[in-house]
Structure formats: structure tokens, C-alpha cells
Subunit: 193 residues, 2 copies
DNA sequence: TTTTATTTGAAATGGACGTTTCAAAATTAT
DNA sequence: ATAATTTTGAAACGTCCATTTCAAATAAAA
């Protein structure tokens, strides 16, 4: 019977994600991935097929990680507007704790690869769709419960928040002051009240 | 006396910018630049020193181009709030006319290189400083003339708009519907009224 | 026309790239 | 132990990378 895979697949993906996140896809070499994972080159190809496929798996793991975090945030919130506030505060916390100022892996991926690779573009479109749907649900509830104003439709506010989140992630790359970023969140959410 | 440079420097920079903008810095090869400019490899090195320096010059040209466009927009506006609206509409126009959905060169640059290269980071910080100062001036005037509300300081609204612009540029990469993007602008600016 | 300085073309530099190969080591079930 | 099957290590694959080299072509000034 076969010798079984000895390494922890998810752990390897986390290590690879850290490199891709720090350097971007194109600036990350296979040697970087060998170094950071401690795996042999051929083991990586055996287990992940190609650099591109490994990157896609990193993206999916990153997406799942945030989906889990977001679910917790939503469950812990007592109102839709507070849920949205908590989402932004979660991104604020991530931004402040990121010593390498890497920004968001998915936003960076969109910037680097959305117009170059169809598999990536489809991942991004799907991610966008899911995020906007989640925001639409929150806004609909908030508007019904009167904690979010009705001067714009749920679709309009969802796109606004989706866009604001990307702006926040980009801004956080070169603005690391907590008060400024907290102010930015407050200003962004003032629009919904 | 010497044979003089035969090519148009600014034109070469425009051609190089188009490639860098489409593929990003790391995915653009010197061969790509040779192909698109029609120049010889050694002529490029003679005139632009290195790929990295050529990229920096492209960034500066791109920055200058938008500074000129923005100046015109500001001069043509009859109020600060309309000036801001025109700025966003200018970005909307750029987004819709960009068939390759490249986004903003400077936003993409920040995503790809801000945490990797100090010369680039300094350029980006300087660009950020200039943009925010311009927005602060507009907001100050708008708040004095009562077309922009005073519930936030000019610093807070300037950072909000700066962040919103980046979000808009990112969103425009995968959302190409004019009405949706126009709605996004309206929602963003509703916050100032 | 000759001198002088520069641009040009084409080839070469050495190294890094993503990926493949394959024998040797390792591990599990018989 | 032996057989079966996979992972591993190390080297090699061919290609492309950014950059350099240098002789030949060029063009303005003397």
C-alpha cells in the first residue's frame, strides 16, 4: 500500500497564501513556495498540479476563512447596521495587525489578474456575487427595521458597501493610523443612517 | 556632433504605459516593451536606464495626465460639490471606455508594489498626499458655501472620497454597467449633501 | 568631408523561471 | 520479509528573464 501524504495540506496552503499575499502572484516564484513550505518541488506539483492551481486553492481557502469570520460576526450582531459596522471593524483589525501592509488578497488578485485569466475572473465574479448578495440581505433587513434609511435601494447600498470595502482595503495599505481608518468607517456608514 | 534621439520620448512612454497598465509590472517583460515601442532593447536601456525606472516614468506621466484632466474639470465646475461629481464622472467615463478593464494604473501599482519597493511607495505616498490635499480644499470650500454638510471635517471627507475613488476604480474592473456605476457615484456623494 | 558623439541592431550574458523526470527512500498491507 | 505504491530529492528540461556588450550605422558640427 502507498506511503501517504505526510504534510498537512491546509497548513501548506496557509504558508503559500502568505507568500502570494505578500508578493503577489507574478512576483512569487516556485522557489519561494518550496522555501516557505519546506516541501520538495515535485511534492508541490504532485499535490497541487501547478503554481496557478495552487494559487487558486489559496484564494479559495482565503475566501472560506473570511466566510467563517463573517458568519461569526453576523451571528454576534444584534442589528443589520451593527453587523455591517462589525464587518468594517473586522477589516480594520486585520489592517492594523498586518505588519506587511499587504492589503486584501482578493482585491490584490483582482487588480493583478482579473483581466488576464478567465479562471481567476470567474472566481472573482463569484466572490463578488456572494458578497453583494450578503450585503443586500443585511440592508433589506436594516431598511425594514428602520436602522438603515430607504433613500437608496438595497442593490444600490450593497454595491456602495462592496465598493467601500475595496476602497478601505486599498486605503489601509498606506494609511495605518487607527483613528483615521475608524473615521473612514464612520463616514462611510453615516450614509446609511 | 551627436546623432540625436529619433523617437518621441513621450510617445514611447505612452506605449509602455499601456502594457504596464494591462499586464502589471511583474508580468510585463522587456520583450513586451521592445515589441510595443518598436525600439531596440539597447535604446530602451540607453534612454530609460532600467525596466523599473521606465515604469516609474510611466507612473509619473500617468499622474501628470490626470492632474491636467482634473485641473480642467475643476475649472469647468461652478461649485465644489459639482467639481467632485465631475471628478467621479470623469472616472466613470474612463472606466466605460476602457475595453481591457485595466482599472487605475496607480491603484494597481499600489496593490502590486507598495509593500515591496520604497521608490514606488514614496511615489504613491506623494500621490496620495496631493490627492487628499486637493479634496480637502474642495470640501472646505463646499462646506463654507453650504453645498457640503459639516457633520464631518474636511480631513474626514477627503479621506472618504480618496478611499471611495479607489473603491470605484476597483469595482469598475468587474462591473461595467453604466447605470450601476452611476448609481454608485450618486450613493457615494449623497453622503456629502 | 571629416570628425565626433549617439543610436542602433544583434548577439551574448548569466541566472531564474515553471515544470518534468526518475531513481531512491519510505510506508503500509500482505 | 515482501510486495505495492507513493513521496521525495536532486538534477535536468527548455524557455524566458533583465541587462550588457560592441561593432556598425547614423547624423549633426567642424
Amino acid at each position: 500500500m502507498p506511503k501517504t501524504e505526510i504534510f498537512n495540506r491546509e497548513n501548506v496552503l496557509k504558508q503559500a497564501t502568505e507568500v502570494f499575499h505578500t508578493k503577489g502572484y507574478n512576483a512569487t516564484s516556485m522557489q519561494d513556495l518550496v522555501d516557505v513550505t519546506g516541501l520538495n518541488r515535485s511534492s508541490i506539483y504532485n499535490s497541487f498540479e501547478s503554481k496557478h492551481n495552487l494559487y487558486l486553492e489559496c484564494l479559495k481557502l482565503y475566501e472560506n476563512k473570511y466566510q467563517r469570520i463573517i458568519s461569526k460576526v453576523l451571528l454576534a450582531s444584534n442589528s443589520p447596521i451593527n453587523a455591517i459596522k462589525s464587518l468594517f471593524n473586522m477589516y480594520l483589525k486585520e489592517t492594523l495587525s498586518d505588519t506587511k501592509t499587504k492589503g486584501c488578497l482578493i482585491v490584490n488578485c483582482k487588480s493583478e489578474m482579473a483581466n488576464q485569466n478567465m479562471a481567476i475572473q470567474n472566481f472573482l465574479l463569484n466572490n463578488q456575487k456572494g458578497t453583494i448578495e450578503l450585503l443586500e440581505d443585511l440592508i433589506e433587513k436594516g431598511q425594514k427595521g428602520e436602522s438603515i434609511n430607504k433613500s437608496k435601494s438595497k442593490q444600490e447600498y450593497a454595491l456602495y458597501l462592496f465598493s467601500s470595502m475595496q476602497g478601505f482595503r486599498m486605503t489601509g495599505i498606506l494609511v495605518n493610523d487607527k483613528d483615521q481608518l475608524q473615521g473612514l468607517i464612520n463616514t462611510t456608514l453615516q450614509n446609511l443612517k
